[in-house]
């Protein structure tokens, strides 16, 4: 305990700020993901904290937040193969940086572009990994539901999987981005930026 106190007292304000915000972002990701699963909602919201960490702090923070969440999922749910899905959070963390201009301010037009790019990247990556690993479309109920609709219309297995992922990713990413922007606005200015 004494050593922990010593370690914490040795941290600068910036380090403490990063640590606290990143921990909050990890918690947000976990709480939202668990809530959506419990509510059987057709959303995941598991990149909200990752996007928030990127726009409040920097992309490197978003990348670390995404990895921590991915690690917890690997430990408690899916095992080491979960790591491939880190590419989805990593893409979200990197693309979310587009939302900020040179002066680290959010711009509406940039937010729209970043959201569209995150949807495209996450659809492609999660669809690809699921197809590669499982061979079938998905292990999530809602993704399966929409994939089956596409499959019944004669789409191939990869395209139906991608369609299922896309239908889920559109509202999911929009909701995640809105929440992340709210978190950004709620964060006092002195706690934002590098």
């Amino acid at each position: 305990m004494k050593k922990i106190k010593e370690f914490l007292s040795g941290m600068t304000f910036k380090q403490k700020r990063y640590a606290v915000i990143m921990m909050i972002c990890v918690a947000v990701n976990m709480i939202l993901e668990e809530s959506m699963t419990l509510a059987s909602a057709p959303l995941c919201m598991d990149v909200t904290g990752t996007i928030a960490a990127t726009i409040i702090l920097e992309p490197a923070a978003g990348l670390i937040v995404g990895l921590i969440n991915n690690f917890f999922r690997a430990i408690f749910i899916n095992g080491p193969t979960t790591l491939v899905y880190y590419s989805v959070s990593a893409a979200a963390a990197l693309l979310a940086a587009i939302m900020l201009d040179r002066n680290n301010r959010l711009r509406f037009g940039r937010v729209i572009i970043a959201t569209a790019l995150i949807i495209a990247a996450s659809t492609l990556l999660s669809g690809l990994w699921k197809y590669w690993q499982i061979g079938v479309v998905s292990n999530l109920y809602w993704e399966n539901y929409f994939s089956e609709i596409a499959a019944s219309r004669g789409f191939g297995s990869f395209l139906s999987g991608a369609f299922g992922a896309f239908v889920i990713k559109v509202p999911d990413t929009i909701a995640s981005v809105i929440l992340a922007v709210i978190m950004y606005k709620l964060t006092p200015k002195k706690y934002r930026g590098r």
């Binding site: 990348l63 690997a74 430990i75 790591l83 590669w132």
Partner: protein
């Protein structure tokens, strides 16, 4: 944040306790992750070991990627794009891939590359790498001679004893074991000419094997002496520091 990560991984001189702990953590993860490979049966505990060690190694991979622009001679976007193609990044990725379920079971052996993570943080390995880098030309010349001789003696043997050597690959295998003086004895020459070639190969092999050993040893000694000299100079500077400061102070008072 990226500066903190950089000093955590690379800045060895000013590395604090956290840096040393990080280095120990990555090295330990690399060693522990190899343990399951020593068993034929896959026990449930190995899944937990695999998950923890995999994430630690991946964290190291991703953090090195994040700060690659500080080390690379290229600018910001290019440094990040180039990183996955650097030798250590390729090794890092190869040792992670078998655990992700996207490669077939045959590639499980690639996990052995994880030991390079330990070497990556080892100062001695750094010294050996520098020696190989410096003596590159000499070592390549010896390698060229050895490969040339293996090829020629294998060809001579293959032409001379077609019954003993079914394929040219067998002949190359024999020539390599003869040159390195290993000689398993599973394939051996039966004609007089073949035996003569074998004797010459064994004698020549001693010289060829001794050459790179000598080059590397000499280079390694030079490197160690350099490191000792540097360390002595630093110690001398430290011990001179307070005295020199006192001298300057006294001179100042006199003036």
């Amino acid at each position: 944040m990226r500066h903190t990560i950089y000093s955590l991984i690379f800045n060895k001189d000013s590395r604090n306790r956290v840096g040393r702990a990080y280095e120990a953590m990555v090295s330990m993860a690399a060693v522990i992750s190899i343990i399951p490979l020593m068993f034929k049966t896959w026990y449930p505990i190995f899944n937990t070991i695999e998950t923890f060690t995999l994430y630690i190694l991946f964290l190291d991979y991703i953090m090195r990627w994040m700060v690659h622009d500080f080390r690379s001679k290229y600018g910001k976007p290019w440094a990040f794009l180039i990183y996955p193609f650097t030798p250590m990044a390729i090794v890092g990725l190869l040792c992670i891939l078998p655990s992700l379920g996207i490669l077939v079971q045959t590639f499980r052996i690639l996990r052995m590359f994880r030991i390079f993570k330990v070497l990556q943080y080892s100062r001695s390995f750094g010294m050996v790498t520098r020696v190989f880098e410096r003596e590159k030309k000499a070592l390549l010349s010896v390698l060229f001679i050895a490969v040339g001789y293996i090829f020629l003696s294998a060809l001579a043997m293959f032409i001379n004893e077609p019954d003993t050597f079914d394929t040219f690959y067998d002949a190359v295998y024999w020539a390599t074991t003869a040159l390195t003086t290993v000689g398993y004895g599973d394939i051996y020459p039966v004609t007089n000419i073949g035996k003569l070639i074998s004797m010459v190969s064994s004698i020549f092999g001693i010289a060829v094997i001794a050459l790179p050993s000598g080059i590397v040893t000499a280079g390694f000694m030079e490197e160690i002496n350099g490191a000792v000299k540097e360390s002595d100079e630093k110690k001398q500077e430290k011990s001179d520091g307070p005295d020199k400061a006192e001298e300057t102070e006294t001179e100042g008072k006199k003036a």
